[in-house]
């Protein structure tokens, strides 16, 4: 099966600035892939190269197996949200979508469908100039979904959204994923996408840091546990003797690496140490991300 989205050694130079460098990755069909990296790491430039808006200096971007510009009626197979302000402020939301529908040969009934889908049906006749940023993001999503594409590229769709909008977006992404669409979503706010993505592509300074399933990327980190004990000092000695690292995290708390919670519990029982709390140390995508990008972070401006 053809990969829905594929970057092959994508490289883009803007003058002397190297925005993206030899970036290769493949997006799985039907998966939600988080395209992650700090601000200025080349995410937008990469997405724009994939969509044929920016010409790569080297390499190729393929969507559904061919360059975007070769797709027949591209908006029917690929939807994109690139910026929340790509609207004429004097046009109504409905008119914006009508124009896209005409230009792309999409049935006009679809305009009402997507307006309802993103919750803008009631304000569809209002001029976009009077829309809040959140409403514009919804309209951008409606535009992307207009052609009912199977592949979606979303560039920072949560930018500028209030907490309610972010929650809405998260639910919306789950809905897209459950309907079998392939989604590539870029973000620099990792907590936004952590509960939504199946896979991740992590870049920094235009270079690939890591790509794979979220489970692999999180799971390959060392097992860990968080433990609370009135005798934390003795527990720490026991754990270190067993080959783990135990870092005090408060007077009666330890963060353990190298042994999973079951192992910590067994050791504690054998040594007769009282435990007040024992749980897996939560590994957030954020923590992993900072760990993964730490090496390249040194000495490089993002």
């Amino acid at each position: 099966m053809t990969a829905p989205i594929e970057a092959i050694e994508l490289t883009k130079h803007f003058g002397t600035n190297i925005a993206v460098s030899d970036l290769s990755f493949v997006v799985r069909p039907g998966a939600v892939t988080g395209f992650l990296g700090p601000n200025g790491s080349g995410k937008t430039t990469t997405l724009r190269m994939l969509l044929g808006l920016v010409r790569p200096t080297r390499g190729r971007g393929l969507v559904l197996g061919s360059p975007y510009a070769r797709l027949h009626n591209p908006m029917r197979s690929v939807g994109a949200v690139l910026e929340a302000d790509g609207f004429h402020p004097g046009r109504s939301a409905r008119n914006h979508l009508n124009i896209l529908a005409i230009a792309n040969g999409i049935d006009r009934s679809r305009v009402d469908e997507v307006l309802t889908l993103v919750g803008l049906a009631d304000v569809s006749k209002r001029r976009v100039g009077r829309f809040s940023l959140g409403m514009k993001q919804r309209l951008a999503l409606a535009s992307a979904l207009l052609g009912d594409p199977d592949v979606l590229l979303l560039d920072e769709p949560a930018n500028g959204l209030d907490p309610e909008g972010i929650r809405w977006l998260r639910e919306f992404l789950r809905y897209l994923a459950s309907s079998g669409k392939t989604v590539l979503i870029s973000s620099h706010v990792l907590s936004e996408v952590e509960h939504t993505v199946d896979d991740v592509v992590i870049i920094r300074s235009g270079k690939l840091v890591r790509s794979g399933t979220l489970r692999d990327v999180l799971g390959e980190r060392e097992a860990g546990a968080f433990v609370r004990s009135p005798d934390a000092e003795r527990l720490a000695i026991v754990l270190r003797a067993a080959g783990a690292t135990a870092t005090p995290a408060g007077s009666d708390q330890l963060t353990v690496r190298g042994i999973d919670p079951a192992g910590v519990g067994e050791l504690a029982a054998r040594e007769g140490v009282v435990l007040h709390e024992l749980r897996p140390a939560a590994l957030s995508l954020e923590a992993v991300f900072f760990e993964l990008t730490a090496d390249t972070a040194a000495g490089e401006a993002s």
Partner: protein, 252 residues
């Protein structure tokens, strides 16, 4: 097929905000400001020297073809049609729908031709609706049975139409809307007219001169009407091709 859809979308854009209709109405107003006084002070009234003699058929023909006076407005219509895409970032969704840049530009230029034609027809229709009845009341022949009249009127509509894609092409070179508008005004309103005065032989080959020749009654300073048409079409072709190449730049 996509070209037809692209052009239709362009027409839909024109009517989706007040900008384009506003410019056309402005052009219509500008034309009427010159037409109405000429009708009122037509020189047949005793003691008024300002007017033109409408008993001269040539003057009636010029009056009926006066829509061409709106050329600056129509070139600005084209400039705005194109630069609006850059100003509001709608160029992105336009190119996502038609990623082949040359075709996208051709669709935009076709949209410009249709927009120019609609504007020219509208302004001409209003001019006729005012001039013809007034001449009838005054008992002056509106020269509607004269072939020359229709050549001037139809030529004028054609010339006015072509100003719009020229504006579109200009907007593709100069993406900044304000800069493009100022340059269009500076060139067509000031520079070309100065050049005509300084170098009359060059002037007839400039856009203003070529456009004027298409709708002229036979001004010896100008090219023949078909010569003007050829020159103007050449401008549209060259500027259009150049615009298509310009649009290949990255959209950031």
């Amino acid at each position: 097929m996509s070209l037809v859809r692209g052009t239709r979308a362009e027409i839909r854009k024109l009517f989706s905000s007040w900008m384009a209709p506003g410019i056309v109405i402005g052009g219509l107003g500008f034309v009427l400001v010159s037409v109405i006084p000429l009708l009122a002070l037509d020189g047949t009234e005793v003691g008024i020297e300002a007017g033109v003699d409408l008993t001269d058929p040539e003057n009636v023909q010029i009056l009926l073809g006066s829509a061409t006076a709106a050329n600056l407005f129509i070139v600005l219509l084209g400039v705005v049609m194109m630069t609006t895409e850059f100003r509001h970032g709608t160029i992105t969704s336009m190119l996502l729908g038609e990623p082949r840049r040359v075709l996208a530009m051709v669709a935009k230029l076709c949209g410009g031709v249709v927009a120019g034609l609609l504007s020219a027809l509208l302004i001409t229709a209003v001019v006729f609706a005012i001039v013809v009845p007034v001449l009838a009341i005054k008992g002056i022949d509106a020269t509607l049975s004269d072939g020359q009249t229709w050549r001037i009127v139809v030529g004028g509509i054609g010339a006015l139409t072509l100003w719009c894609p020229i504006g579109v092409a200009l907007g593709a070179f100069i993406r900044n809307q304000i800069a493009a508008i100022l340059i269009a005004i500076g060139w067509f309103l000031v520079a070309e007219n100065v050049l005509v005065v300084l170098f009359p032989d060059l002037g007839r080959f400039l856009l203003t001169g070529a456009s004027a020749a298409i709708g002229s009654t036979g001004d010896t300073q100008l090219l023949s009407w078909w010569g003007g048409a050829l020159v103007m079409l050449a401008y549209v072709g060259v500027l259009g091709v150049a615009a298509a190449f310009t649009l290949r730049r990255d959209i950031k």
